[in-house]
Subunit: 332 residues, 2 copies
């Protein structure tokens, strides 16, 4: 099976479910590359992945997220758990791959057969990265009861990715400005746990206090996110972080919030697939691309109005609108 | 006109074209808030804005972009030019506004009537920010021959925004790691000019050399992006940057590249409007949202397959596909 470039999705899914690491690696590569059997593959893995605990780790570059994940996964391994790790790494379209791939990441774990680590880069298609990362988490979740999804940076993609997790950990460092950048990036709302890493540096306690007071302003008061200090490089505070993760996981189960998040995740995933499919197929609609190209010159010369052209294209796409019910091609 | 909350778009456009600053401010606020007359307003301003020179300034937080824009705009003002500045500032959904609004930005220019400065935040709708920023640039471009579009950070939104500019300036600082972060964020491909700001700090020259050698690997060899060193806070190197901008602008004109970029910008703008409209109206299609909600529980419980549900919704949306030509509602 591993020799074919376009393997059968059913066979590939079976191999992934059986714990075949090479099959998992191949599945993720195929997902990244837009493999036609992707839909069937993900569908077959989804039911098993549902019960896996997905932890999102996000924060600015250089905050030490990889080291933290390394420590957390090390603890899981000592308890005998299988662990999956997905690192989302928006890289340059011109280098064509993940620069961090060259870096020695998570050296303690890379040789452990109970850990599966995978880096994902954009490869030029920025739009689909959040979806691809979510699907990679499904692949790993189908064979590991716990998956860490690490994102580099605080952009749109990271926020989308974090929203698919059961628990979101926001990692910061004591340096000035980080607190305000976090608030700007919207991370205060999405974090379930906050970590001030590299807490042996000056300002760590002040930052913790700053974060705690900012977090008291959150709209959702049902869960008060703890703020922890860690020095991941020396494995300090990481045990407390693991306990805080379990605390949040228990809260999710007891309060029914876990179910709510699973529904939200399923909804976001389906909606994303729908938008992606519409975008992909829109320009295949007979005459639509020609219609657009025919008007571009006029728009540039100021003879046509871009908004009117867009409306014209939407109308020509034939998408059913509320005012025109009953035009759906499938009503089953 | 300024008293009405929903002013007539034609009258508002006329006031903007006449150089009324309050009208421009109101127009941008309305665009941010999803004003129904937005389409007509933008359409009326677009022809005039076409000839404005749009400079995108991007790079990581804290690189000194605002100070650089301040210096560049100051030079433009000494030559008697009107200048518009849009600062895109992805802020927290829970603070509900631009934190940077509190900071005293561009103090030299804020009181100059020949300069119009506007900050934009996400206000919770992250998706539409790139479009809103582009439209704000249209509003300012309708009355100023030169507009600076500054983005904070290096995420998806920033890359989208930068793609709408005539010239893209990437601003970095000598601190370690920045070079690699830049490549990861895809900025090497989109930059037309690179600036190592705060170049009085150690490592500035090394970073310049590193960038120059990385830039020699770019796919597009027709323009070799210059790398400049500046200390914007002391106005050092900013004159050379202004000259480099003129150099790129001339290159755009001579090589026909400016036309190509205007077409690309118009195409991206129309496509973005089309996707946004489809997303907005999709769930208004009779029965579609109910269909989705009805399946979510089944997906969560592993009884339904998310990809199949997405396909089902796309089919039910009634969007015309290549295999079903002639179903467009408008063929004019």
């Amino acid at each position: 099976m591993a020799t074919s470039t376009r393997p059968d999705p059913a066979a590939l899914a079976e191999a992934v479910l059986a714990g075949d690491r090479r099959a998992a690696a191949q599945a993720i590569s195929l997902i990244e590359d837009g493999y036609p059997g992707r839909a069937e593959l993900v569908s077959r893995l989804y039911p098993r992945a549902r019960s896996s605990y997905l932890v999102g780790i996000t924060g600015p570059p250089g905050a030490g997220k990889s080291t933290l994940v390394d420590r957390l996964a090390g603890g899981d391994r000592r308890r005998g758990e299988q662990v999956g790790v997905v690192c989302v790494d928006p890289s340059s379209p011109f280098t064509g791959g993940a620069l961090l791939g060259d870096r020695i990441r998570m050296e303690d774990l890379a040789t452990d057969p109970g850990v599966f680590i995978r880096s994902m880069a954009t490869r030029g298609s920025r739009g689909g990265l959040a979806r691809a990362a979510g699907e990679a988490a499904v692949v790993l979740g189908a064979s590991s009861p716990r998956v860490y999804l690490e994102t580099v940076g605080v952009g749109q993609i990271e926020l989308d990715v974090a929203e698919t997790a059961d628990t979101v950990v926001v990692v910061l460092v004591p340096e000035s400005g980080d607190g305000i950048q976090t608030m700007k990036a919207g991370l205060m709302e999405i974090g379930d746990l906050f970590v001030v890493n590299k807490a042996d540096r000056p300002g760590a306690e002040g930052m913790q206090v700053e974060l705690e007071s900012a977090l008291r302003l959150r709209r959702d008061r049902s869960w008060q996110p703890p703020v922890l200090r860690t020095v991941a490089s020396r494995d300090e505070g990481t045990g407390a972080l693991a306990e805080a993760l379990e605390g949040h996981r228990n809260w999710l189960a007891v309060r029914g919030e876990g179910e709510r998040r699973r529904r939200r995740r399923a909804r976001a995933y389906v909606k994303g697939l729908v938008y992606e499919t519409l975008r992909e197929h829109l320009w295949e609609t007979a005459g639509l691309l020609e219609r657009l190209e025919g008007r571009i010159e006029e728009i540039v010369e100021g003879r046509a109005d871009p908004v009117a052209v867009a409306d014209e294209i939407v109308a020509a796409s034939g998408m059913v609108r509320v005012t025109e019910p009953g035009k759906g091609t499938s009503d089953a």
